[in-house]
C-alpha cells in the first residue's frame, strides 16, 4: 500500500509541477534598472518606514497598554488590543517579506554563476527555510497571544528585521556596484 501511495504521489507531483512549470512567467533580467529601483524602494521603506528603534518601541510600548488599561473603558481596551495586534502582525509580515526578498536576490544573483557551491546553496536554502518558519511562528504567537505576550520575541524580531535589511542591502550592492564593500560603506547605519 505504501508503494502504491508513493508511486501515485510521484506521478501526481510531477503532473502538478509541470502545470506550474508551463504557467511560469519569463524571469526578469537580473540587475535591470527597474529591478534595482524596486529593490531599493523596498529596502528604503523597511529601513526608514518600519524598522527604526523608536518606532518599534512605540508600537510595542508596554506603557501604552498600562495607560489604556488604567484609564479607558473595556471597549476601548479591546479596540486598542485589536489594533496593536494587527500592527504587530503586519510588522512580522514585513520581516518575512524582507527575508523572501533576500532569498530572491540571492537566487537571482547566484544563478549567474556557472560554478555554484552546492553544499553552500543547500545550507543557505535550509537557513532561509528555518528563518521563514521562525517568522511564521512569531506570527502565530502574535495572533494567539497578542502583541504584548512576548516582549522578548519583539526585540528579537526587530533585530532580525534590521539584519535582514543589511543582508538585502549587501545583495543589492552585489547587483549594482562592484568592488564596493557595503559593510564598510556605512550600510550599518541604517540598522534598527
Amino acid at each position: 500500500m505504501i508503494q502504491l501511495v508513493l508511486s501515485l504521489l510521484v506521478g501526481l507531483v510531477l503532473v502538478v509541477s509541470l502545470y506550474f512549470f508551463a504557467r511560469r512567467a519569463k524571469p526578469s533580467a537580473e540587475g535591470s534598472a527597474q529591478q534595482l529601483r524596486k529593490a531599493k524602494q523596498t529596502l528604503d521603506s523597511l529601513q526608514f518606514g518600519l524598522l527604526p528603534n523608536d518606532l518599534v518601541e512605540r508600537i510595542f510600548a508596554r506603557e501604552d497598554l498600562e495607560y489604556v488599561f488604567s484609564s479607558a473603558p473595556p471597549d476601548v481596551q479591546a479596540l486598542f488590543l485589536t489594533d496593536r495586534k494587527n500592527i504587530a502582525l503586519g510588522w512580522v509580515r514585513r520581516v518575512r517579506a524582507a527575508v523572501l526578498e533576500l532569498m530572491r536576490f540571492h537566487r537571482g544573483h547566484a544563478r549567474l554563476h556557472a560554478r555554484l557551491s552546492f553544499s553552500t546553496e543547500i545550507r543557505l536554502a535550509l537557513n532561509f527555510a528555518g528563518l521563514l518558519t521562525a517568522c511564521h511562528l512569531l506570527q502565530i504567537a502574535f495572533y494567539l497571544r497578542g502583541p504584548y505576550a512576548a516582549p522578548g520575541m519583539v526585540r528579537t524580531a526587530a533585530a532580525a528585521a534590521g539584519r535582514v535589511c543589511l543582508i538585502s542591502e549587501n545583495s543589492l550592492a552585489f547587483l549594482s556596484v562592484k568592488g564596493v564593500d557595503p559593510l564598510e560603506s556605512g550600510a550599518a547605519r541604517h540598522r534598527a
Binding site: G11, V13, L18, F20, F21, L102, A125, A134, R163, K178
Partner: protein, 254 residues
C-alpha cells in the same frame, strides 16, 4: 475501444514522422540528437510491434517489453540531453541534476539486483511492468529536479526545451499513474492502461510537434560574474542568516 486504440497508434506514428521530417528540414536533428534518435527508435519499434500484432500475437508479446526497455533507456538519455541544454551555462546545476538521476537509477537497479540475487522465486521476466514503473519513477525524479532547479534559480528556458520537458513529463507522469494502478488493481485495469499509454504518448507528441516546429536557441544569459563575487555573496548571506537564526533560536518561549 480497439478501434480507438488503433486510431491513436496510427496518429502517433504519423506525428512522429512529421516531427522527424521537420527536424531534418530545420536541421535540428543534430542539435537534439538523443531526442530524435529516441523518437526514431520509438517509431521503428512501434511499427514493428504493429506488424507483429497483426501477424502473430505471440511475437508481439515476446518483443513488447524488450523493446519497451530499449526506448526506456533512450528516454533516460533524453533527460540527460534536456539537462545539458537547460543548464548549458550552469555547470554545477547540470552536474547536480545528473548526480540525482544517477543516484536514483542506481538505487533502482540495486534493488532490482538484490531481488534477483536474494529472492530465487522473484523473476524479472514476470514483473516487467514493475521494473518499468520503477524506472519511470527515476525519470520523474530526474525531471522534477530539473524543473525545481530552473524554478528555484529562475533560469530562462527556450521554447524547444520547455516543450521537451512538458511532453516527456506528461508521458512519464501518466505512465507512472497507469502502471501503478495496473499493478495494484490488476487485470481489470488493463483495458484502461492500454488506452492511457497511447493517449498520453500522443499528447506528448503533439506538445513536441508544436515546441520543436522551429529551432529556437536558448535565451542569452547575462555575462557570468567573477567567481570571487559568488563566494562573497554566499559567505555574507550565510553569515548574516546565521546570526539571525542564532537570535531567533535564543528567543525564549514565553
Amino acid at each position: 475501444m480497439e478501434i480507438l486504440s488503433q486510431v491513436v497508434v496510427y496518429t502517433a506514428l504519423l506525428i512522429e514522422v512529421v516531427i522527424l521530417v521537420r527536424s531534418i528540414r530545420c536541421k535540428t536533428f543534430a542539435k537534439y540528437s538523443i531526442f530524435y534518435t529516441y523518437l526514431l527508435t520509438v517509431w521503428v519499434t512501434s511499427l514493428f510491434l504493429l506488424i507483429a500484432y497483426t501477424a502473430t500475437r505471440s511475437l508481439y508479446a515476446l518483443f513488447y517489453w524488450r523493446l519497451q526497455f530499449v526506448t526506456l533507456a533512450l528516454g533516460c538519455g533524453v533527460i540527460v540531453e534536456i539537462s545539458r541544454h537547460v543548464f548549458a551555462r550552469h555547470v554545477s546545476l547540470d552536474r547536480f541534476a545528473r548526480w540525482v538521476a544517477i543516484v536514483t537509477f542506481g538505487a533502482i537497479f540495486l534493488v532490482f539486483a538484490i531481488h534477483v540475487a536474494f529472492l530465487p522465486h522473484w523473476k524479472p521476466v514476470a514483473n516487467p511492468a514493475e521494473l518499468e514503473r520503477n524506472l519511470r519513477i527515476a525519470q520523474a525524479i530526474a525531471l522534477l529536479t530539473i524543473v525545481f532547479l530552473t524554478g528555484y534559480y529562475r533560469i530562462e528556458i527556450g521554447k524547444n526545451m520547455k516543450g521537451l520537458i512538458l511532453g516527456f513529463g506528461v508521458y512519464v507522469g501518466a505512465s507512472i499513474i497507469s502502471l501503478t494502478l495496473r499493478l495494484f488493481i490488476g487485470i481489470w485495469f488493463s483495458p484502461v492502461w492500454k488506452i492511457i499509454g497511447p493517449f498520453s504518448y500522443t499528447a506528448a507528441l503533439l506538445i513536441w510537434m508544436v515546441a520543436l516546429w522551429s529551432y529556437e536557441p536558448a535565451p542569452a544569459s547575462p555575462p557570468e560574474p567573477m567567481e570571487v563575487d559568488y563566494r562573497r555573496l554566499a559567505g555574507r548571506t550565510r553569515q548574516a542568516l546565521g546570526s539571525i537564526q542564532e537570535q531567533l533560536d535564543r528567543t525564549p518561549d514565553r
